[in-house]
Structures are given as C-alpha cells and as structure tokens.
C-alpha cells in the first residue's frame, strides 16, 4: 500500500510505501499496559530492526501483527490488509515467533508439510525452503534430534514457506553460537536482497545495527524512536578518543576537557580518555589541548553505537534497566 501521510514520529517524507503501519496500537492485560499507543511505519523492502529490552513489548506487538493477540485499541494495515482481518494478509507473511515450536516426533520435512497443507500452500515449496535455510541434508530427521541451531533453521524454513512479502523474525539469533549468528545475519540480508520486507526483533542492539537499515526502538511498551539507521546515526553526537603523547598529561587533559563542558571517561586501554564532545569538533579538542601545552598522540572520532543511541533517546543507561531487561551486545 502507499501511505500518503507523513510517517508518524519520524518526520520522513510522505508517499513512502509501507509494509506495516499501525496507529495507537495498544494491548492491556488486566490493568497492565504491555504495548501503549504504538504507531509503526515500516517501509516496504526494508530490513527493520525492532529493538528494546526484554519485556519491552516486542513479542506482544509482533503477536498482534500476526493476529495471535487481539489489540485492546488501535488499528493497522499490513501489506494492505486490515489488522482486524489477519486472513487478508497472512498468506503473504512468514513468521518465526520466539523459540521455534514444532512436533518433536515428526521430521523437519513433515513438520513443514503439515504447515504447508494447513496454509493451502504448494507442497513443492517445502524443499526449496529447507534448502534455503540450510537444512536439506537433515530434513528427514526427527525434529527432536535437532540442535538448537537446526531448530532455528527449521523455523526460518517454515517462515519461508509462503514465499512471503513480509518476514517477521522474533529473536532469530536466540541460542545460536557466534558462527550461527553470523550465518543468520547473512541469511536475513539475503531475504532483503530478494525484495522481502524483514522485521527482525532483538534485544541485542548490536545485532540489529549490523543487518538493518531501519530501526524501531521500544521501551516499556512505548515507541522510543523509528527511522532509518543512517538518520539515527546522523542525529547522534559522536564521541572522540583523545590520548596525550605523555601519559602524565592525561589527568590534566581530562580536567581541561571537562572545563570545556565535555563528559570525559577514562580509557586505560588507549592510555587516553573518551570524550562526549558536547558539540565540540575534534579540531576544537586538538586546539584546546595545544593551547594548554599538551600534544596529542591520538584523536579518533567514534560513531556512537545504536545501543548508546537507545540509551541517549530514553535518557537512561544500562544501569537503569530492571534485572532481566539487559540490552545485551555482542561486540
């Protein structure tokens, strides 16, 4: 569908084709509000990261998009179909929701056949989906014999069955080893190359940063930010690592920079300091140091990670999260 109105909360230009759009999407369980008036606008063809700490409302939002949970309030459109009529769009949607769940006594292939039959899909889609997910060699084995990585692959294969226009992957790297995570990243990028819109949720912001071109940040059930990753980075102040030529000057350098309004953090590994510049450029920092008789050995600008951007946008830091809400990062 073409949405002619501006994307809410982002100020982006109108006329962008959206795969998913919601207005005031809300879910309450009793008196607990899990998702609170969330307006989503996911451009068609994007790889959209959906990030937030554990318990932020990501899975509940995804379940509402898939018709598994009935919204308390709000409306939405997915691939042109109304959120209140999941049958109108789910034929074009593939989904992996949380941990993959299949019948343990059936083979991977038979599990997919059961789903293909249910969705009135051609059974010929099963083998290509298995091959694409890298599971063709073990497709005849019982699901209960699969490793966690293979189970995740079968989940991806099941999501690919309808040759989807929209692929929704909820924490697809959960439980994967580092090699599996790298492989999953490549797989997700390849889906986008095929023209699919991919919505991938994760509590690992660094994961999202590496594969997504669009990001939605959610916390406490509320939308914190949505927009392109590039635009988000552009709005963020950069940090600078500054290291004096002589270690003895480090303390004095820190005092000078703090006096200039910067926030300074020691970086022992570089024998320097990390400076949140408060609007000063790297050249300004260099000039400040030189005017105080300090020669710099290193002056390296660093782009802030999305993780830091998230904390900056929410005005919190990692310590402010409740136990179990960690915004983990794989560096």
């Amino acid at each position: 569908m073409t949405v002619t109105q501006a994307m809410r909360g982002t100020g982006e230009a109108s006329g962008i084709q959206l795969a998913v759009s919601t207005t005031g999407l809300t879910k309450r369980f009793g008196d607990r509000t899990v998702v609170d008036h969330v307006d989503l606008a996911i451009p068609a063809g994007s790889v959209c990261g959906f990030v937030g700490p554990n318990g932020a409302g990501k899975t509940t939002t995804i379940r509402m998009l898939l018709g598994l949970i009935r919204p308390t309030a709000g409306s939405g459109s997915i691939l042109g179909g109304s959120l209140t009529e999941p049958a109108s769009y789910l034929r074009k949607v593939g989904a992996l929701i949380e941990a993959p769940a299949f019948y343990p006594q059936l083979s991977g292939r038979d599990n997919l056949k059961a789903l293909a039959r249910l969705g009135q899909l051609n059974l010929k889609t099963v083998e290509p989906a298995l091959a694409r997910a890298g599971l063709a060699a073990r497709a005849g084995d019982k699901y209960r014999s699969y490793s966690l990585g293979m189970k995740q692959r079968l989940g991806i294969a099941s999501a690919l069955l309808p040759d989807p226009e929209l692929l929704i992957l909820d924490e697809p790297t959960n439980g994967l080893d580092p090699a599996g995570i790298v492989e999953m990243r490549g797989l997700i990028r390849s889906f986008a190359d095929d023209g699919m819109t991919v919505l991938v949720s994760s509590h690992l912001i660094s994961e999202i940063e590496q594969i997504c071109d669009y990001v939605i940040m959610i916390r406490g059930g509320r939308l914190v930010h949505q927009g392109s990753v590039a635009d988000l980075r552009a709005t963020q102040q950069s940090d600078v690592i500054v290291a004096p030529e002589h270690d003895a000057d480090r303390e004095q350098l820190a005092k000078i920079l703090e006096a200039a309004g910067c926030t300074v953090t020691a970086r022992p590994a570089e024998n320097g300091v990390l400076v949140e510049t408060a609007g000063l450029s790297a050249a300004d920092l260099n000039r400040l140091a030189a005017n105080n008789g300090i020669t710099l050995r290193q002056l390296a600008e660093q782009t802030r990670s999305l993780e830091r951007a998230f904390f900056a946008l929410t005005g919190t830091d990692e310590a402010g999260l409740r136990p179990g809400q960690e915004m983990g990062a794989i560096k």
Partner: protein
C-alpha cells in the same frame, strides 16, 4: 479450508508412533478382552459373564463388544484431549494460526481429523477382535454360524455403529476439554477421573442424576439403550452435553489471546 486443516492434522496423526500405538494398542486390548471373554465363559448359565451358549447366539458378539465401550471411550478421550492440549504445551499453536488464522476452521478441521483417526482405530480393532473371536469360538468348540446370519450381522453392525457414535462423542468431549484446559496431562487426568470415578459418586449420592450425566449417556448410546434410559434418551442428553462442550471450546478458542 476445513479440508486443509483436516489433511494437515492427518500429517501429524499418521506418524508411526501414534499410529501403531493407537491402532495396535486398541486391537490388542480388544483381542485380549475377547480372549478373556471366551476363556472365562461357562458352558451355560446366566452369571456375570456371558456363557458359551449365549455367545453362540446371533447377538453373541454384541454381548462381548459392548462391555469394552468404557475402555474405548477412555482411549478416545485421552488421545483427543492430548491432540488439542499439546498444541499449547508444544507452542505449535502459534505456527498453526499464522498459516490458518480462521480459528474455527482450524479447530473444526482438527476435530474431524482426530475423530476420523479414532474411529478408524476402533474399526481396525473391531475387525481384529472379530477374527480373534472366531478363533476363540472354535477353540472352545462354540458354533459361530449364527453370527453370520442376517440377524447376527445386523445386530453386530448396529452395535458397532452405536459404539462408534459413542466413541465419536468421547472424542469430541476430549477435544473440547483439552482445548479448554490447555494441558494434555491435566485434561486426560480430569477426564478420566470424571468418567471413571466422579460420575459414579454423583450417581450414588443423587441417584436421580444417573441418567443425565455425560459419561452415562454415552454409555447408554454405546449399548444401544438399556433397561433404564433408552437409546434416544441417551443420544439426546449426550448430544446436549457435546453441543455445550463444542460451543465452549470453539467460543473460547476463537477469542482467546495466544501467548503460548
């Protein structure tokens, strides 16, 4: 669409472990019942067990098979309850609903598949038990010629039809209870406790309720009517319970949030 849900469910039901355990299990149980019936039967008399003389009559086999209804009902209830409840415990329900968001279609297709599966298992067990009965009758020097008369076969098919109807009823109850309780273990335990114990206790405390309870009504249907409640009475009462159970199961399933 219901057909798609039906065939999808059969992909799961026809897995070897479930197929063999159900079909062979029921056949072995029914055969063991027939063997016991013939081996323990006195030559004549009207005691608790049918005599060989009674077994040799056209309705001789019917006397035997109707006594196994409780076993069939328990098996049907357990399998059916496990099939719906396990979708919650395995977490597979969310996958199913993404591929078939029309929930009533999904549940009806599933129910039809499970009922068909159980009825086929019952028919297979009946055929095996029939063959075993012929062998046992010959072993006890009992004539089986009356079984193959028009009257004998008519009685047998009528009895099998009544039992099949009751088994379908137990299956629907199991599917509905499994759906409502969402736990295979809890559903099976609750169902069996009700059929085996609770109804008997209620009927002993308040005897007037005996003909109005679901398990007793299905037993009446299975036996083709008793000296107490008639077949039609049992059928109507059982049908009311089944319709209420179905409405409750379908109604809650259609509206409930799937968080499993």
């Amino acid at each position: 669409m219901t057909w798609a849900a039906f065939t999808s469910e059969w992909t799961k039901l026809k897995r070897r472990t479930l197929l063999l355990s159900t079909f062979l299990g029921l056949a072995v149980a029914a055969s063991a019942f027939v063997i016991l019936l013939f081996s323990q039967a006195p030559a004549t008399g009207h005691g608790g067990l049918p005599s060989l003389q009674q077994l040799a009559r056209p309705n001789g086999l019917v006397l035997g098979v109707t006594r196994a209804t409780m076993l069939l009902g328990i098996v049907a209830f357990g399998i059916a309850a496990a099939q719906t409840a396990s979708e919650y415990s395995l977490g597979t329900l969310r996958q199913l609903l993404v591929r078939q968001p029309r929930r009533i279609v999904l549940l009806v297709g599933k129910m039809l598949a499970v009922i068909t599966f159980i009825l086929l298992a019952f028919l297979f067990a009946a055929v095996v038990a029939f063959v075993v009965a012929i062998v046992m009758a010959h072993a006890r020097h009992t004539s089986t010629s009356a079984w193959f008369t028009g009257t004998g076969l008519g009685d047998l098919f009528r009895a099998l039809g009544d039992i099949a109807l009751a088994v379908a009823g137990y299956s629907i109850l199991g599917l509905a209870i499994g759906q409502l309780l969402r736990s295979a273990v809890f559903a099976v335990i609750a169902g069996l406790a009700w059929i085996i114990a609770v109804e008997n206790i209620i009927a002993r405390i308040v005897p007037s309720t005996a003909n109005w309870l679901p398990g007793a009504s299905l037993a009446t249907v299975a036996s083709g009517g008793t000296e107490g409640p008639s077949f039609s009475h049992g059928l109507i009462v059982a049908a009311i319970y089944l319709v209420v159970a179905l409405i409750a199961a379908l109604g809650t399933f259609a509206r409930a949030d799937v968080t499993a």
